[in-house]
Symmetry: C2
Subunit: 341 residues, 2 copies
């Protein structure tokens, strides 16, 4: 129905092969022919069919991005970065939003990813089983992971354990001894080990400092502002005394903790210090001390790793660790309020 390469060939007075070469840049074409082709294409408003091109060449110029949610800040930021990098590189981005519950993943893997429409896959915060990785690898397309470790796949991520440990050490260094941790529930562990890793780092720092951790001060909730708000309210209003500091596993959770403290009439950081992880855009507004992990950049970098593998020698890039930047703002300070045991 549209203008095909044949039409361009005819008006340019050359063969289809020459048109293809002139337009794709592959192979040699005389400047004269190239110009004739370009003129003809412009005149006819030629738009190449990517399906036909893909079918013939095997390249699709399309990358699949798989992630558990688009509404949480980390994910939308990674997506934004990846989207920008792909747009610039002239690739399409096919989005597979698996949803927080793992049911959809099945169908995404089975029905979508394998349909040979993708040159590569970006898997964001998905902890894939070895069987799932196998299935992914079977299509012989490069895969790069972001935010979660995937066995046998090049991955881009921060060292969650180390970052959590340092965030906790920041609080300890300020003089805090009664520190609570707000993190994700077991439900979330299925898809990424993040909650476990961050809790691990927290516990390690506490242990190193010889500090005790009350089990009730390890709050588990979902990764949202609201979830952390409720959990923090419980923490801060518990009859047995409250912590002087909260380490939240994400900035959104930290915001929830800050809002909870305020609603209880507690001052941040005077009555309670709060630290997060992420580098959320609203961090400055809340004065949140946090580890900035620049997810937008992670999305971009991951895309470049992927494209390097696709367009380059095909060698899998090494997994890379992102260096997050610790940003101290006004949500953390030395404890001032009298402590209760």
């Amino acid at each position: 129905m549209g203008v095909s390469i044949r039409d361009v060939a005819e008006t340019a007075g050359v063969s289809m092969a020459t048109v293809s070469r002139a337009l794709s840049g592959r192979g040699n074409v005389s400047p004269r022919s190239r110009q004739r082709v370009l003129d003809a294409a412009a005149k006819l408003g030629f738009v190449p069919s990517y399906n036909a091109s893909s079918l013939a060449s095997g390249r699709t110029r399309n990358i699949g991005v798989m992630l558990p949610s688009v509404s949480r800040w980390f994910f939308s930021s990674v997506l934004e970065g990846a989207s920008k990098a792909l747009l610039e590189a002239g690739y399409d981005l096919t989005l597979y939003n698996t949803g927080e519950q793992p049911g959809n993943r099945e169908s995404v893997l089975n029905d979508f990813l394998l349909r040979q429409r993708l040159d590569g896959v970006l898997a964001v915060s998905l902890e894939l089983s070895s069987d799932e990785v196998d299935r992914l690898m079977r299509v012989k397309r490069p895969v790069v992971g972001v935010g979660g470790p995937i066995a046998g796949v090049a991955t881009l991520r921060i060292d969650d354990v180390a970052v959590a440990r340092e965030a906790t050490q920041h609080l300890i260094g300020l003089g805090h001894r009664d520190i609570a941790h707000v993190s994700g529930t077991a439900e979330f562990e299925r898809d990424f080990a993040l909650p476990t890793s961050r809790r691990e780092g927290f516990l390690a720092a506490m242990k190193d400092a010889g500090l005790e951790v009350r089990s009730s001060w390890l709050a588990a909730t979902d990764f949202t502002v609201s979830g952390a708000y409720s959990a923090s309210k419980r923490l801060l209003a518990a009859p047995g005394g409250r912590p002087t500091a909260i380490f939240a596993a994400s900035d959104e959770m930290a915001f929830g903790a800050i809002l909870a403290a305020r609603d209880l009439g507690l001052r941040v950081p005077d009555d309670v210090s709060i630290v997060g992880i992420d580098g959320h855009d609203l961090g400055p507004l809340f004065g949140l001390t946090t580890f900035d992990q620049n997810p937008r950049k992670q999305g971009e970098t991951a895309v470049h790793m992927l494209l390097g593998q696709i367009e380059g020698d095909g060698a899998a890039p090494p997994s890379a660790a992102i260096e997050p930047e610790f940003v101290v703002r006004s949500s953390t300070a030395a404890p001032k309020a009298a402590q209760r045991g």
Copy 2:
């Protein structure tokens, strides 16, 4: 390289056409043949090539979603809804994140959308010029718009003017006379008339009630929490006296206003009432009075309109108006503080 339909045909002992029919459901196949095909396909691990299928049939089972941002709540929610609906329908979603600045739109329209890889396009909050619409229509694919009016295209949206008017009337009904409006700058008008429409509704309601609007109480900023925070601080701390109520053009902006009020030591709603538009997930946490427009649902509905057009009779569905629900929470009340001129 993979298993093709020909291999399946051979092991099943039928023709390629029968395999195609059995697998796609189109056309008649005896139960016996169907079973043989299914068995053979499963045994060989057959995965159809969508490129080949698209090329031959003209259908791509792929929908393009164009939006200006994935980080703002409204957009990510629409995307989530659309993504869910498409996943269920067995369609791929190709994401075109044009970015808030209009430069990318050009390349998205020129280089991506026209490559005949899409069965339809969902345009979210993009005000396309007639030339751009022309180019979109030239590919003969259905287009459905969400959140912004597009000339000549079926659109799903709330009546921004009416909603803004009612939100303002809510404040007026409570007894407020000094009402400010925080909305988007002219910069944003390029991509959607939303700021203008909502300001229009606000002004209409004020005029109807015989209330004056100070020009300095029409604050224009970007559509973020931070932008509204700064703008609201200026509004609420201005030397000439402050408004007793703020109507924010979005919930995220309303959150910014609430945070600004709190940081100034003002109580919401005692000192200042705040109302938004959207139905943001965090509305309950902030006690925000708002018009819930359920963007997730809008995304789903828009997809169904699109698929109906693609799979059905091809008739363009009528533009539909979403009925937003007014939710009164604790951020609005009758003015209590003494008013100053």
